[in-house]
């Protein structure tokens, strides 16, 4: 019997989140004796590139495809074609729309991740009126919208539901700017927002590199003490920044776990033909250095141990 071939398609090549995911998959594949093919879209949101990668992997003999869909709807027809050929398709990280477009989903809830930090921010403010800066991803990206809208939802402000790709903008949001999930651009965005809203007290960032950029900008302006930065991802560097007091709280997700679960399911399918099904929530944990009353959070040590599912 030949070695099972498993394909992993991430959204991009560079985001540390997906790099970790690839590492986890590679480790698991090595352990279980499977061959792993990897591919990615060219940019965040590149659906066509993911479709191409999937086709090529199937041509290369992959019987299982693990995919973090860049576009939850647009990928559906291509997945359908693959499944019609008997390929097991598992969505990682975020679901397709509809969810049953794939055989199974090992994912995290980005909207919920937003809600958690929103609730944390609300409790920390303790009744003070919020003046918010949001450093988002870039226009049109679903994950960017889900985290943003979830955050506002958690803060108890006007917001949209998890399916909406537009960004809500209640009055409390003083400034919105795109960070592209990049530290330098995050810093620039924060600097500009500080000019517009010097009295900001809460900063939401799409991920921890953007948060680090925001912290730099605040620190240069001498405002790092009075502003609460919240973020999403829970990467090891991000947790370190939580420990150092740069980031107040972050919603931690577990790419390593998703990936290893996916690979294991693929190997199982190759051996026994058994397909996994349904939604397995790999979980979101709120990590904060300082717990606040009424919001469940874990401390930095737990976060470091778990960072992206290290152990």
């Amino acid at each position: 019997q030949s070695q099972p071939v498993i394909g992993l398609i991430t959204k991009t090549e560079t985001n540390p989140f997906f790099v970790k995911m690839k590492e986890g998959a590679a480790e698991e594949a090595k352990k279980l004796g499977a061959k792993l093919l990897t591919g990615a879209g060219k940019t965040d949101g590149d659906n066509a590139g993911q479709v191409t990668a999937m086709e090529n992997m199937i041509a290369a003999g992959a019987k299982t495809i693990l995919i973090t869909p860049s576009d939850s709807k647009a990928i559906i027809p291509a997945i359908k074609k693959a499944r019609d050929k008997g390929v097991l398709v598992i969505a990682l990280d975020s679901p397709t729309d509809p969810v049953d477009g794939t055989d199974a989903l090992f994912a995290t809830d980005n909207y919920k991740a937003g809600v958690l930090i929103g609730q944390y921010a609300k409790a920390s403010l303790a009744g003070k009126p919020a003046k918010i800066v949001t450093l988002d991803l870039f226009p049109g990206h679903p994950v960017g919208a889900q985290r943003h809208n979830g955050f506002l939802q958690g803060l108890g402000l006007q917001s949209f539901d998890a399916k909406n790709n537009e960004l809500a903008k209640p009055a409390e949001v003083a400034c919105m700017a795109d960070s592209f999930g990049d530290q330098a651009k995050g810093q620039t965005a924060m600097e500009n927002c500080l000019q517009k809203a010097p009295d900001v007290n809460v900063v939401y960032t799409i991920n921890e590199p953007a948060a680090a950029g925001a912290y730099n900008a605040l620190k240069k302006a001498g405002k790092d003490k009075n502003v609460l930065i919240v973020s999403v991802d829970g990467g090891c560097q991000g947790i370190k920044d939580v420990g150092a007091g740069k980031i107040a709280a972050t919603s931690q997700q577990y790419p390593l776990k998703m990936a290893s679960m996916g690979v294991a399911a693929g190997v199982e399918y190759a051996k026994s033909g058994k397909k996994p099904s349904g939604y397995t929530d790999t979980g979101v944990t709120l990590i904060a250095a300082k717990a606040v009353a009424g919001v469940d959070s874990k401390d930095v040590k737990t976060g470091t141990d778990l960072c992206w599912g290290n152990k």
Partner: protein
């Protein structure tokens, strides 16, 4: 003697083909299924969108211009045609026409800015790149458009051709290339495209309306982006507002790999088809080999340089 020779492309223009051949031989020997008819037809499907965009891009580059907006305009076209069909319920031929009209309009705007105000094409199309992106996002509310009528995705269907399944869209792409090849080679309008790119001042002085030629090229390119939009829709089965971000670089790469000069006036449009296929082959072959995706990027970088090196060396002496 004159006539026979003039029918064959000079040896110097065979460079891209040689590079493609090298790539194919390499992948055929390192992987099992690269040469299967099915895999080859898959590659053709994967390059059809960029391939058709590259036709428009070639025309513009032949006039010494460049079009950065092509991919975004294509995305806008696919959103317009799918939303018109799904949300407004227009019959599919009209919806497609509306999408193509939108892309042609963008071509017209690009062309007018380039010819009337004489702005550099790089900046004009960088501007319309942003504008098309924003309009796409606003109009689609960043939502993918699904539930299309089957007819709109028919070009993604395949027919059997000697064992392999060939997509109608791939066939359309090849036919378009042949058509424009003929047009550029055998009609006055086509030759004027070369002339404008080769020496705009001389072309103006012999009394050719250079601005009209340019404008026409930009509009034709716009229409081609509309066709590419339809191909993208039929390939993915949806209208995708996040498409089109990297197609400009891909298409320009295909054109340059195909041996067309970015300074205008020199090149062969069939080279662009080969260039597009080279990109597709690299992508496909490296995945088949099971190369890690970061290493794929590395190797693609090296191979792209190698491909033009082969081209350049095969041209030796033709200084």
């Amino acid at each position: 003697m004159d006539t026979l020779k003039s029918k064959l492309p000079p040896i110097g223009q065979l460079g891209p083909f040689i590079a493609l051949l090298f790539a194919c031989v390499f992948f055929a020997s390192t992987t099992d299924n690269f040469l299967s008819g099915q895999n080859l037809s898959l590659i053709l499907q994967q390059v059809m969108v960029v391939g058709v965009i590259a036709i428009g891009q070639t025309l513009i580059i032949l006039t010494a211009g460049i079009d950065l907006s092509c991919g975004m305009v294509m995305a806008l076209g696919s959103i317009v045609m799918t939303k018109f069909a799904v949300d407004l319920g227009w019959p599919w031929p009209l919806a497609i026409a509306a999408g193509v009209a939108a892309t042609a309009l963008f071509g017209l705007v690009n062309g007018l800015l380039v010819t009337r105000i004489k702005l550099p094409p790089f900046i004009v199309t960088l501007g319309t790149f942003n504008i098309a992106f924003a309009i796409t996002q606003l109009y689609s509310k960043s939502q993918t458009v699904t539930g299309l009528p089957d007819e709109m995705t028919a070009l993604g269907n395949t027919f059997a051709l000697g064992g392999a399944q060939v997509a109608w869209g791939s066939l359309l792409m090849v036919l378009l290339y042949l058509g424009f090849w003929w047009w550029l080679r055998d009609t006055g309008a086509g030759r004027h495209v070369y002339a404008v790119g080769n020496s705009p001042e001389a072309t103006r002085l012999v009394g050719i309306p250079t601005e009209k030629v340019l404008l026409q090229v930009y509009v034709i390119a716009g229409v081609l982006y509309g066709v590419a939009a339809l191909l993208a829709v039929s390939r993915t089965g949806v209208g995708d507002p996040n498409a089109g971000k990297t197609e400009n670089l891909d298409a320009i790469t295909a054109v340059v790999l195909g041996g067309t000069s970015l300074f205008g006036g020199r090149g062969l449009i069939l080279g662009s088809l080969v260039g597009a296929i080279v990109i597709g082959v690299l992508n496909n072959g490296l995945t088949l080999m099971g190369v890690d995706s970061v290493y794929q990027v590395l190797i693609t970088g090296i191979l792209v340089i190698l491909a033009v090196t082969v081209d350049q060396l095969s041209r030796k002496g033709g200084r």
